[in-house]
């Protein structure tokens, strides 16, 4: 198993009810699969928001299909449009 640290930003923080969490995931799973696991673990997370948010692994932008390396810090940022 692969321990990762997850950080939530903006509205995701309210939905999850936490700023960060540690989660054990099988090695080789993608960012999208991690999103799915998080929505199961935090029922308040809106899947549509998670589906459209920006994700970073170790402060680098990542796409849904990217594999999460062991010990990574993964952050999720919802889109905002205000001006």
């Amino acid at each position: 198993m692969n321990p990762v640290k997850v950080l939530f930003f903006a509205t995701l923080r309210h939905q999850a009810g936490v700023r960060s969490t540690e989660i054990e995931i099988p090695e080789g799973i993608t960012v999208r699969q991690l999103k799915e696991r998080l929505v199961e673990r935090f029922p308040g997370l809106d899947w549509q928001v998670m589906d459209h948010c920006l994700a970073s692994v170790n402060q680098e932008y990542c796409a849904d299909e990217d594999i999460i390396p062991p010990g990574a810090e993964v952050a999720f940022f919802p889109p905002v449009s205000g001006g």
């Binding site: 932008y61 940022f77 889109p79 205000g82 001006g83």
Partner: protein
Amino acid sequence: MELTREEILRYSRHLLIPEVGLNGQRKLKESSVLVIGTGGLGSPVSLYLAAAGVGRIGLVDYDVVDSTNLQRQVVHGTSTVGKLKVESARARLLDLNPMIQVDVYNVPFTSANALEIAAPYDVIVDGTDNFPTRYLSNDVAVFLGKPNVYGSIFRFDGQASVFYAQKGPCYRCLFPEPPPPGLVPTCAEGGVLGILPGTIGTIQATEALKLLLGIGDTLIGRLLLYNALDMSFDFVNLRKNPKCRVCGPEADIKELIDYEEFCGVPGHDHESGSAGADWDISAPELAARLQSANPPLLLDVREPHELQISWLPGALNIPLGMLAARLSELDSAREMVVLCKAGTRSARALELLVSAGFRRVKNLKGGINAWAREVDQNLPVY
């Protein structure tokens, strides 16, 4: 372009910085920046760029100043409430610095006019408040080969970056698809800390100035994420998306598209507060129905703290975010009118209710604000 004696005096604090100096100040005088939107972000951006001596500033906005703007849109003032935003801003900028030129475009920024408006400017600053116009200004910048200084805000969170497809990623590299309509609340629905656009807008102005002067490390390839409550600044390193449809090697979008259709929402009437004619009920109609023998149930989908501002007696409160989980509390056989502040969230709630099998549901068009204007003037509009 030479500086006049007056300009040398005015900009003396810039002339003292080696990175700007006389040459840099001359460069600024020859430069031009297009600021799209004269709202929360456009206010500090245009004020500081004008003060800094950017020779020509273009302002695009089609709106009129109203009093709810003044909590954050500091380029306007109480004396310009009711006036065109571009005229209000131009007067303030020229008062701050009469040595610059301010061009105004009192029109919606659309696919029909965007390339023509943006072409004569060196840098584009995205200070818009909706997704369609953000995708539009991104694509305009990509097609014209100009940098697009991006900023975006909500409540306590802000984002900023410089999207410059020749040197790094564009907005679409990050967000290939817009979120579904209504998923991301606007500041008009969800609110925004008034100072937040000041923080993000001054960062955008800084980046625009650095691009014009060719100094420093800009936010090209980096996204800044700011949170005012934590006072945190986080950065994410960005990369060009090889599948980007406007700036990737196999880009298939070669000209401006219909951005309202692409995003599924109007870019220029984001507070229409309507769920469609068949689903709407007006405030006076609702008032009459509430007097009838079998009045509908009122379902208020606003956040609990908004009820302290205004509320309708007897309304059941289930915030939109909790509605899906609390549908079992509602009786689908009973006629129901859904309401929020201005009718946008309630329209989204209506979609959810209809897809869950509710049929006897209506949307209060224009929300409780319409009720306060048309039925009960004792209620405040917010």
